[in-house]
Symmetry: C2
C-alpha cells in the first residue's frame, strides 16, 4: 500500500496499529466467529470491552472517582444541546467564551435554552496576529450556571493550553480536537466532552466526563438519550450505543497506553507542532497568523504568501501522499491536522514537501 | 472460520458478502489508501457514497419525491424524542398505539413534550394467544397531531403487517425491526424511522423518512441535531454523521438490490418464518403464544414447554454455532431474530437442532 499521511481535520486518521488489528479481527472478534458489531451490547463479551475501554480512559486521564464517563451518540453538536439542558438547573444564564467558530456554534445552540452571555475574547497582537484575552481577565458572571469554552479551535488553529479558573462556577470544555493530546487535570472541570472523530475513534461517538454533583439536574423536557443521569445509571446503555465506534475507541486507548500515555503523547505532539511552526516561521513563502502562545498543537493553519499557488500546492502534495491539506473556507489557505495518530514522519514529509515546493516557486 | 448463525435481536448479523467487502477494503477505500472512516464527510468521494446510499434506499422502498431521507444519530430512542419535538406543531396531543415494550417506551418519551393518548390494543384470543385489535377499530383522536405505532415488536414477536388508515392525521412508524423486510407503501406514512442495528447496518445510525410538509414545524427548543429541517437542509451533514455506519448501510442497500429487492426479501423472509413457526406449531415440545395473524417475520419467540431445559438448550445450541437464542427477560424462553441477513440455511440448521434436542428429551 502506498504510504500516505492524512491531515484531515476530522474524521481523522486512526493509528495504523489500531487499524491493522481491527481489520484482522473484523469478522471474528474474541474468537466468537462474528464481528464485534454483530454482538449484543448486553452480552458479557461486549460489556467487558466497554468496561475495559472506560478503565483505560480513566487511567490515561487519571479521572477522579467522583466523575462519570459517558459514551454517547450525537457528536459534539449533540452535547451543545445536552450541556445547557443538563446544567442550567434553577439558573437560566451561562457564560460562553467565544474564541472562534466552534465556541460560537455551541453558544448559538445554548441560546435555545436560556440566557447566554457571550464573552468574545478574540484579540489581535500589534503584529496583527490572532490572539486571545488572558483568562484572568475574562469578565465572568458569578451567577452563571456554568462557563463554557472550547480550548482548541479546530478551524482557526487557536489553543488555550492553561485551564481557566472559574471559581465555584462549573467549567465546561468542548475538547473535541484536543482531548488526549496531553495530560489534563479533570478535577478542574465540571464537564469535559468531545466528539470522537479527531483523537478518539471514528465519528458517531461522543465522550462526556462529568462531575457527580452535576448529574440529576436536567430539565424535564430533555431527550432521555442526552440526560447524563439516564446515561450514568445505565452505564451508557440506555439505548444501543454505537458499539463499533466504542470498540475502536477502546483500541485507541490501549494504543495510547502502549505509547507511554499522555505525557509521552504531549512530548510527541509538541515536537511535531514545533517542527511545522518553526519551518513556517523560518520561511518567507508560508505564514501562520496566530500568536505563538495560542498556537494549537493539533491544527496548524498556514497560508502561502502567494495564494495563486494554492491549487498547485494541493495537487502536488496529494500526489505525494500528503492528503487533505486544504484549509477551512473561513480561514483559507492550508491546514495540517496533526492529532495523536499522525506520526512525526508525516510532519517531516510535509515539511520536506513544503520546502521543495517553496524552492521551486521562489 | 466455523459456520455460525447469529440470532441476535440487535445489533444483528450483517450479510456475509457485505462483511467480506468491508474487511477487504477496510484500510484502502476507493483506492484512497485510507479507510472510509478516515475521510472527511465533506470530501467528494464520501458525498458520492452518501448520495448513492440514499438513492439505493429510495429505489428499494420506492420512496416518493415528496419525502426526505435523513441519516441521523441517536438511534430509535433519539427519534422517540425527535418525533414529538418535530411534529407537535400547534397541537399538543398525539395518539400512541400500545402493542408492547417498544411502543410503550416511545410513548413514555413523548409524554415529556405533550399530552399522549395511549391506546392499548393488546388482546388475547380465546386460546390465550397474544393478539391485537384490528386497526379499523382503533379509537383514534381526529385532533391528534399524529398517530405513532410500532409495526413490529421485537421483544414480543408481534407484527402488524397491514398499514392502518389514520385519515388526515399523519401516521408515524417505528420500523426499527421490520424496515426493508418487504415492500412498503411509504406514501401512507408521515414519518417512518428506524434504528439501523437490525436490518440496515451497525448501531449508531438511525434512518428517518419524512414527508416534506411535516418538516419545519419543530419546537424552538429542539436540539438542532434532531430538527428534521436542519438535517434536510444540510443533507444530514449538519454535524459529522456516523460515516462508517452510513457506509455499511450503503453496502447493505446494494446487497438488497443484488438479492432482487424487497419483493424477493419478502419471499425469503416469509419462507424462513414459515419454516420456523410451522415446526414450532407441529411440536409438543416447543410453543409460540402469538396469534398467527400477528406473528412477526423478524423476531420469533418460542418457549420450551419444559422450561427446566432452557439452559441446556442454550448451551447446546451455542455449541452448534446457533448463537444468541436467549429470549428477552420480559418474555422468557427463546427468541430467534431472523432479519434479512439470516440465510434460510440458518433457520434450517436451527429447526434441525430443535428437532434433535426435542427427540433427545421427549
Amino acid at each position: 500500500m502506498t504510504q500516505v499521511y492524512n491531515f484531515c481535520a476530522g474524521p481523522a486518521m486512526l493509528p495504523t496499529a489500531v487499524m491493522e488489528q481491527a481489520q484482522g479481527e473484523f469478522r471474528n472478534w474474541n474468537d466468537l466467529n462474528v464481528s464485534v458489531m454483530e454482538v449484543s451490547h448486553r452480552s458479557k463479551d461486549y460489556i467487558a470491552l466497554a468496561n475495559q475501554a472506560e478503565q483505560d480512559l480513566r487511567d490515561l486521564l487519571q479521572i477522579p472517582d467522583n466523575y462519570k464517563v459517558l459514551f454517547c451518540q450525537g457528536g459534539g453538536r449533540g452535547q451543545f444541546a445536552a450541556v445547557p439542558l443538563n446544567l442550567f438547573g434553577e439558573k437560566l444564564e451561562a457564560d460562553y467564551i467565544i474564541t472562534g467558530q466552534w465556541a460560537q456554534s455551541a453558544a448559538e445552540e445554548a441560546k435555545k435554552h436560556g440566557k447566554i452571555n457571550q464573552i468574545d475574547i478574540r484579540r489581535e497582537t500589534a503584529q496583527g496576529q490572532a490572539s486571545l484575552l488572558e483568562s484572568s481577565e475574562w469578565p465572568l458572571n458569578p451567577n452563571a450556571a456554568f462557563v463554557h469554552y472550547c480550548p482548541n479551535e479546530t478551524i482557526e488553529g487557536l489553543e488555550i493550553s492553561s485551564i481557566p479558573d472559574t471559581g465555584d462556577v462549573p467549567l465546561v470544555a468542548d475538547m473535541s480536537s484536543t482531548i488526549l493530546s496531553r495530560p489534563l487535570d479533570i478535577s478542574q472541570f465540571g464537564v469535559v466532552y468531545a466528539g470522537a472523530q479527531k483523537n478518539i475513534g471514528p465519528s458517531g461517538l461522543a465522550l462526556v466526563i462529568v462531575r457527580d454533583d452535576l448529574i440529576g439536574k436536567a430539565r424535564q423536557a430533555i431527550p432521555s438519550i442526552f440526560d447524563y443521569k439516564v446515561l450514568a445509571e445505565s452505564d451508557s446503555m440506555f439505548n444501543t450505543p454505537p458499539t463499533y465506534s466504542w470498540y475502536l475507541a477502546g483500541l485507541v486507548f490501549q494504543w495510547l497506553k502502549q505509547q507511554g500515555g499522555l505525557s509521552a503523547m504531549a512530548e510527541h505532539n509538541e515536537a511535531k507542532a514545533k517542527l511545522l511552526y518553526d519551518y513556517v516561521d523560518s520561511s518567507d513563502f508560508y505564514q501562520n497568523k496566530v500568536d505563538p502562545q495560542y498556537r494549537s498543537w493539533m491544527n496548524v493553519p498556514f497560508q502561502l504568501v502567494d495564494e495563486s499557488l494554492n491549487e498547485q500546492f494541493l495537487t502536488e502534495s496529494a500526489a505525494q501522499g500528503l492528503l487533505t491539506l486544504k484549509g477551512h473556507r473561513i480561514v483559507g489557505g492550508m491546514r495540517a491536522s496533526i492529532y495523536n495518530a499522525m506520526p512525526k514522519a508525516g510532519v517531516e514529509a510535509l515539511v520536506a514537501f513544503m520546502d521543495k515546493f517553496a524552492k521551486q516557486h521562489s
